[in-house]
Every structure is written in C-alpha cells, then in structure tokens.
Symmetry: C2
Subunit: 476 residues, 2 copies
C-alpha cells in the first residue's frame, strides 16, 4: 500500500491547496482565522450524535506534512516554487479547542474550534472532516445499538463490508459507541480493542462432516469453543452436533462457550436452540447471532420478541453507518483578524454563526442535560440571561439560574497536543455516564424530542448586524 504513512499533507482536497497558494500570493498568509466544525443534523433521524475521531484526527494532524515526493507531485500540478518551499516546512502551528471524545453533541453547535493562520486552517479542513464525520457517524450507530441491547454484548464484525481502509477507524468508533470487541485484528492492535471471532462456514466445509469439523475445533480451542451451526441445517444438524461436542467437552472438564446462528429467523431459531441446549442440560452454553443486524433488529429481537440471544455480531450496517453513509459535518470560517465572519445562504438553516465561541451545557434542576448555549467566546456565561432559537428568536429560554459546563477545551496549543487523549474504553465509559444525563425522550428511535440549542443575545446581535452589512456590501 503506497501510503507515505508519516506525511499526510496530500490527504486534502485540491482546492485547499489552490486556495492556500492564493492566500500565499495575495498577502493573506499571516491572516489569523478561526474556523468551526459542526454538523447540521443528527444521523439516523435520531436525537443526538456521539462525537468521536478526535484522537485519530490529532494523530494525523501531527503528521500533516509534505515529503519530497509530495512536493514533486505538487510541482507537476503547477504549484509555484515559493509556495512549495513554504509547504516543505509546513506544520500546523495553531490552537484547537474541542469537545471530549464520547461527548453527546447536537446540531448547530461547534464541536471543534480551530485557530491559526489562514493557510494552515484551510489545509487541514478535508482531513478533519473526513475523520470526524466518519467516526462520529459510526460511534453514534454503535451507541444506538447499545441503548437497546439490554445489557447483551455486541461485536463489530464489519471489516469485510467496511469501505476499504475506513475499517480501521470504523472499528475504533464502534468500540467507543459500545461494541464489546472487534473482529478487525489491525484495529485491535492499533487501538487496544478486544478481539473476537469464531469460525467461518469454510472451516465446517473443509471437513467431511459437520460433527468432525466441530470436534476438530473443540480440540484446538477447548476453552473457548464457539460453533457456527448453520452450514447445513441449524435445527436438524448444527445444534444437535454442537450438543454432542459440548457433552464430549464436559467429559474432559471443559465447557463449550457458545453456538452462533448466522441465517434464518433468529428469534425462532434462538428459542428452539435454547430449549434444545437446556434440555441437554447445557444451560451455560450461550447463543450468539449474526446476519444483517442493526439497532432496529436487535431491539426487536431483545425487547419485542424476548429472543434468548446472549450476544450479537454486527457487520455492514454498524461499520458503514448505514443508512446514513456520512455525517453532514462542515467546517466554516467564523473570524478573520479579529473580525467576525459568516456565510449567508438561500436556506436559512445554512446561514453560519460568526465569532469565536464557547458552548455551555446547561443542566436542569434534576441534573440532566436541559439546553446547550452557544456564546461568544469572551462572554461571561453568568451574565448571559437568555438564549434564543437561532432561527426563531421569539423562542427563548432563561439560563441565568442553570448550572453550566463549557464543552470545548484546549487540546492543541501552538501546534502541540496538550491534552492526552483517552483510550477507547475510557471514552466509552465517559459516553455512558453522559448518556445517563440525557433524558430518555432524546434517545428514542422514532421522532425523538429535539434537544434545544440556543444562542446568546450577543451572538445573535453580532450575526444580525453582520448580515445587514453583508447584504449591503455584496449586492450589486
């Protein structure tokens, strides 16, 4: 794989480089800018988004440099020598404040805020969006699954259906969202994720009979035997053969761990399997299930049908964040040389909010998440009396008396990572704790209650004044 693995400078959109060269030549290269990363809608028509990917983005950011072959390639593309000299020693030297990985975030609020010169802020845009959008998408999917799994574990089995090397960060995000383990060995090594897996149909097929295949597997894995029972016929062949082998294991003082169902009606088959295992006094043998699962199917099996399934292997939909494919996160200029900036749009929801900001989570009297307040960075949160709906300002909430926590903390200062990132396990624990504070009505799958995010009066007034000014200036 011809990736220059320590130099990710080219992992960007061509226009970032074109603009960077433009800034370089039109005297703007030392302009100081602030950009915000935020998304506009929660994935899966859900009520929240789990933020993930910060660790991986920061790793790549440190390696966001250009090596000699990169420079040569850009020269072929027509970039100018002076600008290429600039890139040769390029390194991000700005500041980043960010929400914690595993934080529960909502549309419209900044998740990261990036400050630096205009060139460095521009160049890293594509990579930032690429990593954060994807990991947040998958972490959210995984957490939705965990919310309905009723304590049953599930594993990421998605490598074979992942979008190419997206598998690497996807498996990490699945773990953050709540997967107990992954089948992806490389991700396990890179991110310290427990590995899991059993056997494929090919194992069974490679022996003359299923029973022989089961026996051979039990012989080589006496302490962690999990048998895939659907190669020929789950009820008529697979489960009876698994029971035979479990009894043989017992004679040697071992207990079979589980059987795995991988086709057919999982509710029906798991109930039949449970009864067959119990009748054979194999109450300890667990039942695992896989095959085209997602959070809706898991919910239906566990909560609606009481299927006696102890664990799930989830592939395609988890690792690709189906049916959404992408989180719609964007990266917008909000300030330049101390002056607020914004983008108008024919769609009012697409108008961006100017200014350096801070997001405060406001807690209700019962200690749960109640409102998020977006303030101008230098505002004193204790002085902001009301927050306003960004589009319908007549809808406002008093926040004076509410307990508030700032969500964005400095993670990069002058190009250096100053806040150590947590492991996937710890991030998931953080997510779980935060989730306890999110009222249930925001977690349901169907028409979840919309969590309110408001803006301060100061931010609203700055935006409105700037809008007027822009409309005047830009009209012809």
């Amino acid at each position: 794989m011809p990736i220059s693995s320590n130099h990710w400078g080219l992992y960007t959109d061509f226009y970032e480089l074109t603009m960077a060269q433009g800034y370089f030549y039109c005297g703007k290269k030392d302009d100081t800018t602030t950009f915000n990363y935020f998304f506009r809608t929660n994935p899966y028509q859900g009520g929240f988004t789990v933020f993930a990917g910060l660790h991986d983005f920061l790793k790549l950011l440190l390696e966001y440099t250009f090596n000699e072959t990169d420079i040569a390639f850009l020269e072929e593309q027509g970039f100018n020598k002076e600008f290429l000299e600039y890139l040769r020693t390029f390194k991000f030297s700005g500041n980043i404040i960010s929400a914690n990985e595993g934080e529960i975030m909502f549309p419209g609020e900044p998740v990261l805020q990036i400050e630096g010169n205009i060139i460095e802020c521009q160049l890293i845009e594509s990579m930032l969006l690429n990593i954060l959008n994807f990991e947040s998408l998958v972490a959210t999917k995984a957490f939705r699954t965990k919310l309905v799994a009723n304590g049953k574990v599930f594993s990421d089995f998605g490598l074979r259906r992942a979008q190419g090397l997206g598998a690497i960060h996807g498996s990490r995000a699945a773990k953050i969202g709540g997967a107990a383990s992954t089948s992806n060995v490389l991700a396990g090594k890179l991110f310290d994720i427990p590995l899991s897996g059993t056997q494929a149909h090919s194992w069974i097929q490679s022996f003359d009979t299923e029973l022989e295949a089961f026996r051979a597997f039990a012989r080589t894995h006496p302490e962690d035997t999990i048998l895939l029972v659907d190669t020929y016929d789950s009820l008529m062949s697979g489960i009876p053969n698994a029971i035979t082998v479990a009894k043989e294991l017992e004679k040697e003082g071992n207990q079979m761990q589980a059987i795995r169902l991988d086709s057919g009606d999982l509710a029906y088959l798991s109930k039949k399997a449970r009864k067959m295992l119990d009748d054979a006094k194999l109450e300890y043998v667990k039942i695992l299930a896989s095959n085209q699962l997602n959070e809706y199917v898991v919910k239906s099996l566990i909560k609606d049908q009481n299927a006696p399934i102890d664990g799930f292997g989830i592939g395609t939909e988890l690792i690709t964040g189906k049916s959404d494919a992408a989180l719609d996160g964007v990266y917008k200029l909000v300030e330049i040389n101390g002056r607020p900036k914004m983008k108008l749009s024919e769609n009012i929801e697409k108008v961006t909010l100017p200014c350096k900001k801070q997001v405060y989570r406001c807690f209700g009297d019962d200690g749960t998440f109640y409102r998020d307040a977006i303030l101008v960075a230098d505002e004193n949160p204790e002085e902001a009396e009301f927050i306003f709906h960004p589009v319908y300002p007549e809808r406002k909430t008093q926040i004076t008396h509410l307990h508030k926590e700032p969500l964005l903390n400095t993670v990069v200062k002058a190009g250096e990572i100053i806040r150590e990132q947590k492991g996937t396990d710890e991030i998931h624990q953080y997510l779980s704790k935060r989730s306890e504070l999110l009222p249930e009505e925001h977690k349901r799958f169907i028409s979840p209650h919309i969590y309110k995010v408001g803006i301060s009066q100061k931010l609203m007034e700055t935006r409105d004044a700037l809008t007027k000014q822009l409309l005047k200036k830009s009209s012809v």
Copy 2:
C-alpha cells in the same frame, strides 16, 4: 497514523487467524483449496455491477505479511509459538484467476477464484472482501452517473464525507466508473487521477467583499478561474460579480473558465445563470454544480429539465456508494484436495456452487452480451449444450451456437503477479467499451431487466449429487 504500511497481515478478521491456527494443528495446513469471490445482488437495485479493486487488492496481497510487532501482538492474544513461526515467513503462494477490472459482472458468478493451501486462502479473505466489495460498489455508482450524464463531466468531491481512509480507494473507484477527476490529492498522486477543485466559501468570506475575493482569485489563477457564486446570493450578487470579473479577465486576454453553483435549485439557477452569462456575451463561461448530487439528480437535471450545467461535483453519495453502503460480496470454499465443496442454507439463494469454475460470456447474434455461463473449470465450453437457471432448472438456454469468451484470467501464479494491471483511465475505457455491448434494458434505473446467468449441466449435477450426500451425512 500508526499503520505498519508494508505489513498487512493483521488486516484480517480474528477468526481467520483462529481457523488458520486450527488448520495448522489438525493436520490440514497443506490441504489445497479453491475459493470463489462472488456477490449476490447488484447494488442500487440496478442491473449490473462494475468490478473494481483488483489492482489495490493485489498490491496489498504482496504486502500481506507479518512483522515482529504483529507477531508479538498475536502472541499476546494467545496464539501458539509454532503457528507464529509459520506466520513469520508467511506469504501468499497460491494462484488467482480474476475478471478484468472494469468488467461488467452479474450476481452469482465467480469474479475471482483463489487456489492455494487452506491457510493462505483463509487468511486473505477479509482483506479481499474489504477492498473488492468497496471499490466495486463505488465504481458501479460512478458508472451509473456517467450513463445519465449525457457527456457532461463529473468529479469526485467526496473526501470530506468519505468513510475515513476509505477515501483513498473510493476516489480510484470513482475514476474507474467514470469520474473525470478527483478533489482527493493523495488519491490523485497514488493512482494518477487528474485533480480538480475551485474555492470554498471561506475564500470568499476571508475578503471584505465577494467582488474583491473573486478578483483576488482571478489574479492568482488567471487561466483557470472558477468562481463559487453562492456565498451570499447567487443571482443578486455572485453571478453579477463573476460577470464583472470575467469582463476584467477578458481585458487581460484571459477567459474565465466557469462559475459553480452550490445551493438552491440547480435547474432554476443554472438557467438564470446561463442567460445572465449569455446576455453578457460570456457564452464560453461554463456552469458547474454541486450539492448533494447523485445519479438520479443528475439524470433529472440533464435529461428531464435540460439544465444548462456543464459539469458536476459529486461528494457523499458517490464516495460512499449511498444508499447501499456495501456490496454483498462473499468468499466461499468450493473445492478441497480436488473434492467439490458447497454450503447449504435454509435460503435456497444462499446455497453455494461447488467446483473450480470458469465463467463464459456468451454473445448474441448482434454481438451484445446475452448470457453468462458458469462451467466446471475443466469443461470444454464448446461441448456444453445448455445452461440452466441455478434455482429453476426447467429454465434453460441453448448456448452451443453462441460466441463465448472466458472472463477469468490468471493474474497471480504461485504468489507472483503475472499480469500487469492497467491504469484507471485504461480501465474506464475498457468499461465503456464493454458497456456498449450490454443491452440498454439492463442499464435503466427502474426495474432493470435481469441478465441471465446459468450453470452447465455438469455443474448442476455435481451440485445436486453433493447436496444429497451432505444432507445424508450431516443429519443426525
């Protein structure tokens, strides 16, 4: 990015390694096996699939080895020393026959056939599926777009919404399917894809006025000025300002290349924009469009609404293969030590076909694709009289008189790549040529005509005999 970029041994599912160790210890490590890669349904409810990813898979296959840290990691996971010694010098040493990249393929037929010892064939499964499933998904999406673009070009703008590093192979696949260029600079470098891009809203916002921003861009890019016109208001501000700058460029002897619309109703705005440009005698200025496009929107704009759009930038849906997220390709054991193998299933469509095979494309009298015939590898295609529907054998087609071409050619022999892979451009040209031979009714989006793939009598008889035998053996 801590990828051990020359050792991809861990880029596999955990169970592949568990099974490999099992084969190693139960005396099967030198068993010779044949596996088939095939998919079960065309993506996007379409009538065909464009095969892509072979080049990337083969590159990774050569690097499918284990370094010291990989071995140490596996030791921590409990793998045995002897087996780890085996992995230390592991290298795929088998044979692969494959369809050409860019070939149009259909459900149920082998796309690759892999022969080797059981361990090597098993270990590479996950990586093969990961790369081939994804690139074929995106190449198919891109080609569907090309089919309805009426000669208009489109570019891959997907990096920011791609699934992490999946962007790298996704951009290559988009090019194979018909994208003229990509915004992804790294993919451009790795796969020799033309780059394209213009400017972001941040460029415009970073200047005091839109006109100033346009002028600055034109100054730094006088020969390839493309201006994004929707930062404030496309019709009232962006297009008039672009016209002003185009006229200024003319005075210096340059021609503005294009404007880009990125929001609002693209049909309406492009017609207005065309008229405004034409009225200003700027007939040569092209109109580009982006914003949540896919093949259906392109078709609607170009074919149904006659929108005067000259080119498209397509992001999310192209690079992620939305709405499908994954091709359902699988990898199944079909032969071991010369004996045919298959998997039964409660779903008849999931029963696999045993035996080493070859696929023959059969041409109709008019020279177009007519049927695909799956034969046992050693069958003489001139002697196969009929092919049969795999599930309904009463549906058969005589193929004796038809011109036939074998689709699978040797690409790897004894672990060495023996067939040089083509560049993305050449692969796309091959695809275009083959597509001319695919009757139109298989290309339409809605209820496309199903292309018939049949099996030879010998294959059918082998399968049916094996089914009987398996049902007898596996029942209890």
